[in-house]
């Protein structure tokens, strides 16, 4: 084959590939995995050893095997939004994130993916949060800590959306068998508190600034697309002011607590008490409750 011929062949191949690329993309409208109305059980615990804390709280819910089946592809979604150290409490505690991943592996997960679409620079946020280093300590090829890539967002029609009818979501979050939400409990001027439902901002694409207009309804709509099979609220330390970015230990109260629930609404609603609030003070909790997503009334929850 001479040069001219090679170029000709390459162009033909290129044209063929281009034609192939025009095929319709995968239809990713997701089949809802989680039960439509999860049981409002909230497991709680307090311990200064965060590894044991996670294990004990999960044991109250029947262990991670109650949520993760062998062979599952699991997404663990911590809050890694901010370039901020563990002591400043803006991101999920590294020990909590690491232990959750380890429990998933023990339960037989085929792959455990960890990612977050950050607010600050992702490289800095992953590193400063301590989560990157903690996850890398696990040294298991089934564990994939990755940065969010632009090309992996797909547009999703939100069938049950009230204010959001269509938005882009991260493909890995949509395709996972199990989604474990590991938020950190923080003050937020607009939403009052950011816990589990707000943490789902980390799996959506687009201009997230726009989501803040009518934030409460938008959060509920997002949570109808990617449902959390399990929400583990990191309340080892909570941010009581200047959230969600924080930046100073003055804004932090150390609690050594952790809550877990299959019901994201119950998890958010229950966590509010740490801030001297009730779940019903949070508009998005009220909307989600009315939409039948979960339980907001603490007296109707089973607190373990």
């Amino acid at each position: 084959m001479n040069r001219r011929e090679f170029i000709k062949r390459s162009l033909q191949l290129g044209a063929a590939l281009t034609a192939a690329a025009k095929l319709p993309v995968l239809d990713l409208v997701r089949i809802s995995r989680a039960q439509d109305k999860p049981e409002p059980i909230v497991a709680t615990g307090k311990n200064t050893n965060y590894k044991n804390l996670v294990i004990d709280v999960m044991d109250k819910l029947g262990g991670m095997k109650a949520f993760v089946s062998p062979g599952d592809v699991v997404v663990v979604k911590p809050n890694l939004a901010w370039d901020s150290t563990p002591a400043l409490g803006a991101d999920t505690h590294p020990v909590v994130a690491k232990t959750v991943v380890e429990l998933c592996l023990d339960a037989g997960a085929k792959r455990v993916m960890i990612f977050d679409r950050t607010a600050h620079d992702a490289r800095r946020a992953y590193k400063s949060s301590g989560v990157q280093d903690a996850i890398n300590e696990i040294k298991d090829s089934k564990v994939e800590l990755s940065f969010v890539e632009k090309h992996k967002f797909v547009d999703v029609k939100i069938t049950n959306g009230v204010s959001l009818k269509k938005w882009s979501f991260y493909k890995d979050a949509l395709k996972a068998d199990k989604f474990i939400n590991v938020p950190v409990a923080k003050h937020h001027a607009l939403a009052k508190l950011t816990i589990g439902m707000k943490n789902m901002m980390g799996v959506i694409g687009g201009n997230r600034g726009d989501i803040h207009r009518g934030l409460d309804q938008n959060l509920v709509d997002i949570n109808t697309v990617v449902k959390s099979d399990l929400t583990i609220v990191d309340a080892t330390r909570i941010m009581v002011s200047n959230g969600p970015a924080g930046g100073s230990p003055d804004y932090i109260r150390v609690k050594h607590e952790l809550f877990a629930s299959p019901d994201i609404v119950a998890a958010d609603s229950y966590t509010a008490h740490l801030f001297g609030l009730k779940g019903t003070n949070l508009k998005y909790v009220n909307i989600a409750h009315s939409a039948g997503m979960g339980e907001k009334r603490v007296d109707k929850m089973k607190i373990l």
Partner: protein
């Protein structure tokens, strides 16, 4: 003293290419790699550059310590001649490689000799302008040009080509192709590609100048180095006492000037028997290798010949001196300098010295633009006057200044953008943010938003806070809205508020290069300068 071995040419080729690879490696390392401290001396080549050092010292009226290592090159040149150009300069290697690829068969211009002195006049011109505190060296310095071109144009272009082609298979509905595409992209990204596609203003313009330097190769080998490079001129001036001798020192009578055809810098011009231009020699040893009669020898020793350099004319020198003098008012005396007002939206990076000092020190190399983690530092065009071309400014539509990042001050070779500790950085005022209440959503529409407040990083509390105000919205309904405001005392102008503002096209808040806080009963003299 001993004869220099012929294998030196091979050593030269290897060294030159390895140092270009080092240059490119350091370029790739000019980024956040997990710590807020850079592992390598990424601006090494700029700091070794005696031309940049000299002009900066003169213009700034100070010795800039980071440049002191360029003394090594000065000593090297005094002892061994213009070795830099043949052995070290990454621009020289780039030119050599591209010449071989694109212009191998091109013929030298017949009367190219008359261009050779231009670089000396250019050097004198730039030294004169430096004496007037203008810093134009970076526009002509080869290391500045190369660093800037690779940063602003070449790397972003290469990144885009790789990213687009590697990901072209991703969206295809064939899972192995999609997976392979994703995998290849991940591997390339790990070692070569940017974390996010870098984008820069002036990328085309910057590349065009580099393109012209390469295109001149069509007319002559190393046209830039032989005729134009002011660094080469400075090094040639330092070379007369270099301790390397060449034999023969003239063209051989029985040869049709083979040396001149081979020589990278055509150092055997003319038809006569005059000695070659030793000061200009870059010691590539091409002539030693390619002499059909094996006559060329280099050896160490004192060279006592008289004619060594290029003839400069008095008229030429007077022209470059007067051009230098006249350039000062043309560039410096203008409305910007008289009103002491930069455009309001023109914000310098954190750690920047005063504007006047900035313009006399900045090497226009683009290192800060390369290292900026959010791609926020962009090259200026004429916003800061013609002499502000390629100087850095922050563009908050493209990025913002990450609160805990201090990298730009670590890479600036002239310390125009100073190294700051994290504490100093947290307090360094680049500008102040102001709301545009006609655009800001809570003010203009009566709808809660607070994205700016959410992201504001300042300590000990957020510079953007809010008050709850009862308003009548455009539809006539009365409601409580959280209206944000800026605490000027705390705002440092990092611009994350402007960058994250969801209002399209023109944000509802902008950072302005105002550094002082306006308050009652507080006055001080002086403006931005």
């Amino acid at each position: 003293m001993g004869i220099i071995n012929k294998r030196l040419r091979l050593l030269r080729n290897v060294t030159h290419i390895l140092l270009l690879i080092l240059f490119l490696f350091l370029f790739l390392q000019t980024q956040y790699t997990g710590e807020d401290i850079l592992e390598y001396p990424v601006n090494l080549f700029l700091r070794l550059d005696p031309f940049l050092a000299l002009t900066s010292f003169i213009a700034a009226r100070a010795v800039i310590s980071d440049f002191l290592i360029s003394g090594f090159i000065v000593i090297l040149t005094l002892v061994l001649g213009r070795l830099w150009c043949g052995w070290i300069c990454p621009m020289g290697t780039t030119i050599d490689i591209l010449h071989k690829v694109f212009f191998k068969h091109s013929k030298r211009l017949v009367d190219s000799e008359k261009f050779r002195s231009i670089k000396f006049y250019l050097l004198f011109f730039l030294l004169v302008t430096s004496a007037f505190s203008l810093s134009l060296a970076g526009y002509f310095d080869p290391i500045s040009i190369l660093t800037r071109t690779v940063t602003l144009s070449i790397y972003p272009a290469i990144n885009a080509i790789f990213e687009k082609s590697l990901l072209s298979g991703y969206s295809v509905d064939i899972s192995w192709l999609s997976n392979a595409s994703d995998y290849l992209y991940t591997v390339f990204k790990e070692y070569l590609l940017a974390f996010e596609q870098p984008v820069y203003y002036l990328n085309f313009f910057t590349f065009f100048i580099f393109f012209m330097i390469i295109f001149l190769e069509r007319y002559e080998k190393r046209f830039w180095c032989k005729n134009l490079c002011p660094l080469g001129a400075l090094l040639a001036l330092l070379s007369p006492f270099a301790l390397i001798k060449r034999k023969p020192q003239k063209k051989c009578p029985d040869c049709e000037g083979g040396c001149n055809a081979v020589c990278k810098l055509a150092l055997f011009p003319g038809v006569g028997q005059e000695a070659y231009l030793k000061n200009e020699c870059i010691y590539c040893f091409d002539c030693m290798e390619q002499c059909p009669n094996q006559r060329v020898e280099y050896s160490f020793g004192i060279d006592k010949r008289e004619k060594k350099g290029v003839d400069l004319t008095r008229r030429g020198l007077i022209f470059s001196l007067s051009a230098g003098v006249f350039t000062y008012p043309l560039l410096r005396i203008n409305p910007l300098s008289e009103t002491r007002r930069l455009p309001a939206r023109f914000v310098r990076p954190p750690g920047s010295v005063t504007e006047k000092e900035f313009l006399s020190k900045c090497a226009r190399c683009g290192e800060c633009m390369r290292v900026c983690i959010k791609n926020a530092i962009q090259p200026a065009f004429f916003e800061a006057g013609a002499e502000g071309l390629w100087t850095p400014r922050l563009d908050f539509a493209i990025g913002y200044c990450q609160f805990d990042c201090t990298l730009c001050g670590q890479v600036c070779p002239s310390q125009t953008v100073k190294r700051l500790t994290l504490d100093e950085k947290h307090k360094f005022v680049m500008g102040k943010a102001f709301f545009d209440k006609n655009r800001c959503i809570p003010y203009a529409k009566g709808i809660d938003c607070l994205v700016c407040e959410e992201h504001c990083p300042t300590l000990p509390k957020k510079a953007i806070r809010f008050k709850k105000v009862e308003v009548t919205d455009p539809d006539g309904r009365t409601k409580i809205v959280k209206q944000p405001f800026v605490d000027e005392e705390l705002c440092i102008g990092c611009g994350i508020c402007e960058y994250k503002c969801p209002v399209e096209q023109k944000a509802g808040i902008h950072v302005v290069n105002q550094k002082k806080v306006i308050k009652e009963g507080f006055f001080s003299s002086g403006g931005l300068y």
